[in-house]
Amino acid sequence: MDNILDVKNLRLYYHTSKGVVKALDDVSFTLKKGETLGLVGESGCGKTTTGVALLRMPSPPGRIEEGSKIVVDGIDIMTLSEKDIRKDVRWEEISMVFQGAMNCLTPVYTIGKQMMETLQEHRDMDKKQAEELIKEYLGLVGLPPEVAGRYPHELSGGMKQRVVIATALFLKPKLVILDEPTTALDVIVQAQIVNLLKKLKKTFDLSFIFITHDLALEAEICDRICVMYAGKIAELGTNQQIYGKQGPAHPYTEKLLAATPLLKKKVDTLSFIPGAPPDLIHPPTGCRFHPRCHVAMDKCREEEPPLLEIEPGHMVACWRCVK
C-alpha cells in the first residue's frame, strides 16, 4: 500500500436556486505516504472545497456526486455511513486545520478544555490521562504546558495556530489537510510554523495537503504541486517540474508565478492575470481558462483539454501541450 489517498473523478456540486455550481468537476489525484501535496489557485478555484470534500462534509447545498471515489488508506469512504465516518475517519484518519482556524477557538473556554473535547469524543480516557496528553502535545508544537489553562485572547496569532495544529494531530491521523495555515501570520512567525510542520511530519510520519494561494510558500514545503482552476486541475507536477528551470507547462501556472512579487529580484512591472475566475454555473466552453489565456487558440474555445501526462508524473490540461 503505497498511496495514503486516492481521489478519482471527484465531483462536488452546489445545487443552488440559480443553478448547479460545479465547484469540483472530475478531480483525480493521489497522495503517497509521507508526501506533501500543495493545492494552489485563486480564490474560488476549488482548493478549500477539495479539502472539505475529503472529510466528506460539504456545506449545504453542496453534494458529492455519484461516481466520486475517495479512498483513504485502503478504505473507500464514499461507501461508509455518516456515523462511521464520524467515528473512524474524521480526525482519526484525516484531520484538517481550517482557514482562519485561530479565530475559531471559543473565547469562553480555556485552551485545555477545548482540546479535551476532541479527546472525550473519541477516546475512553480519564481526565488525568487526557491532561497529560494535552501537555505532551502542547510541548510538541513548542508551547509551554501552562497554555492549557489560558484563554484564546491571551495568546498571539502564532500561538493559537500552534494550538490548532496540536488539536489536529491529537488522534494520530495519517493525513492532515492544512488550509492556509499561515496566511494571517507575519513572515517570521510563518517561517517558524513552516519549520514546525516539517518537524511534525517527520515525527509522526504524516502526509500533508497544503492549501495556499502563495506559490512561493508552496515551493518551500510541497513535494508535488496541484494547480487548480475553476474546479479542475490545470497542472500537477513535482516541485522540480513546476519551479525548475524549464518552468511550468500550463499558461495559468506561468501567469500565477509571474504575478508573484519576488523580494530578491527587482522588477519594473509585475504581470497580472486580467479578469477573474469564471462563474461556475455557466463555465466557459472548451478550456475554462481560455477567456483569460494569452496563448489561447481556436481549439481551446471549442473543446475541453484532457489532463494528460506530458512527462512522468507531470500532468497538464492544455491543448498546447498535446502533440
Binding site: 513572515v187 512567525v189 519549520n195 523580494l263
Partner: protein, 339 residues
C-alpha cells in the same frame, strides 16, 4: 515629477502615541499600577513630495497607529506633524477637516469599507457632500465618472448604478481609490490596500495605483507587512519594530543591503519560489514573537530577540538612527561588527 530631497510634504517629528488602559475598579482600589502601552514611541521621518513611502512592520509594530496619527484619527501624546511646513498637530476643527481632504486614506478591507446599501455613485458622491464641494447633482456625477475613469473602471457609467456586492475585491479597491481621488488630495495613506486581494490581481491594483500617482502628482504612504510588494511599489522604506523605526532607506538599497539584524531577519524569512527547499528546515534567524508594547525591553528594544545581542545592547541607551550615506539609516550599535 522628480522628487526633491528637501521638498517634504509631511514631516513627523518625534511623534509618540501612548495608550493608558482603563484600570478596573478592583485593581484601582487594590493599588494596581497602570501600564502604559507605547504603540508609537518617538518616530521621526519625512515624506517627500511625489514619492511612495513604505512603512513596514509585523503586527504590533505600530505601523497602523502611525497611519492613524498621520490621518489625524488619533491625537499624538507628543511630537509634531508638519504638513507643507505648517504645524497641524493641534489644528482646530476647520483645519482638520480641510487636512482630511488633502490627506486621504485607502483602507485594508474593501468588503467592509463601503456601505452595502449605497450604489457606487452614492459611495463616490458622499465625500463631495461631506466636504461641501460646490456643484449640483450633474456636476457631481461628472466628477464621479471622471474618478472612475481614472482608476480604469470601464465603462464608468456601468459601474455607477451597481452595489458594492456586485463587484470583485479588486474592483472595490479601485472604487476606494476613486473615492479618495474625487477630493483632489495631495497625499494618500494606504494601509495594506492589497492584502485581502487575490494574488493574481494584486499586481494589477498596485500598477493602477502607481499610474494614478504619476498622473495626479500624488504622494503615498504605503503601510504593509509585505516586503515583496513594498520593494516593487515604493521609493523609500522605513522598517518599524515595537513603535520605533529601526532602519530606513531607498527601497532597493534597504532590501539588497540591510544593516539592522531585524531587517535581515525579515528578509531571510520571506519564501521564494525556488526548488530544492522541501527537505530543508530553514533557519529562522530570530526566535519568539514581538514583545508587548506595554513592556518594552530596556536599551535597544530588539535585544531580546537579536542573535547578535551583547550585554551592552540592553545596558546602554537606546541607539538613535545613524546615517551611513545615501539616506540609508539604521539603529544598530553593532552593525559594523556583525557586517
Amino acid at each position: 515629477m522628480s522628487i526633491n530631497e528637501n521638498d517634504n510634504i509631511l514631516r513627523l517629528v518625534d511623534l509618540k502615541k501612548h495608550f493608558t488602559p482603563h484600570l478596573g475598579l478592583v485593581k484601582s482600589l487594590t493599588g494596581g499600577t497602570k501600564k502604559v502601552i507605547k504603540a508609537v514611541d518617538g518616530i521621526t521621518f519625512n515624506i517627500r513630495r511625489g514619492e511612495i513611502f513604505g512603512l513596514i512592520g509585523e503586527s504590533g509594530s505600530g505601523k497602523t497607529t502611525t497611519g492613524k496619527l498621520v490621518m489625524k484619527l488619533l491625537e499624538p501624546t507628543s511630537g509634531q506633524l508638519i504638513f507643507n511646513d505648517e504645524d497641524v498637530t493641534n489644528s482646530n476643527k476647520e483645519r482638520t477637516i480641510r487636512y482630511r481632504r488633502e490627506v486621504q486614506m485607502i483602507f485594508q478591507d474593501p468588503y467592509a469599507s463601503m456601505n452595502p446599501r449605497f450604489k457606487i455613485n452614492d459611495v463616490l458622491r458622499e465625500p463631495l457632500i461631506i466636504h461641501k464641494i460646490a456643484g449640483d447633482r450633474t456636476q457631481h456625477e461628472e466628477m464621479v465618472i471622471k474618478a472612475l475613469r481614472e482608476v480604469k473602471l470601464n465603462p464608468p457609467e456601468e459601474f455607477t448604478t451597481r452595489f458594492p456586492h456586485m463587484l470583485s475585491g479588486g474592483q472595490r479597491q479601485r472604487v476606494s481609490t476613486a473615492r479618495t481621488l474625487i477630493l483632489n488630495p495631495m497625499m494618500l495613506v494606504a494601509d495594506e490596500p492589497v492584502s485581502m486581494i487575490d494574488l493574481s490581481t494584486r499586481a494589477e491594483i498596485l500598477a493602477m495605483m502607481k499610474d494614478v500617482q504619476r498622473h495626479m502628482n500624488l504622494t503615498y504612504l504605503y503601510i504593509t507587512h509585505d516586503l515583496s510588494t513594498a520593494r516593487y511599489f515604493t521609493d523609500r522604506i522605513a522598517v518599524m519594530y515595537l513603535g520605533r523605526i529601526v532602519e530606513m532607506g531607498p527601497a532597493d538599497e534597504l532590501i539588497d543591503n540591510p544593516l539592522h539584524p531585524y531587517t535581515r531577519a525579515l528578509i531571510s524569512a520571506v519564501p521564494e519560489p525556488e526548488t530544492g527547499k522541501v527537505d530543508i528546515i530553514k533557519e529562522v534567524p530570530i526566535s519568539g514573537e514581538i514583545p508587548s508594547p506595554a513592556n518594552i525591553p530596556s536599551g535597544c528594544r530588539f535585544h531580546t530577540r537579536c542573535p547578535f545581542a551583547k550585554p551592552e545592547c540592553s545596558e546602554l541607551e537606546e541607539p538613535e538612527l545613524m546615517d551611513v550615506g545615501g539616506g540609508h539609516m539604521h539603529a544598530c550599535r553593532r552593525w559594523k561588527e556583525i557586517g
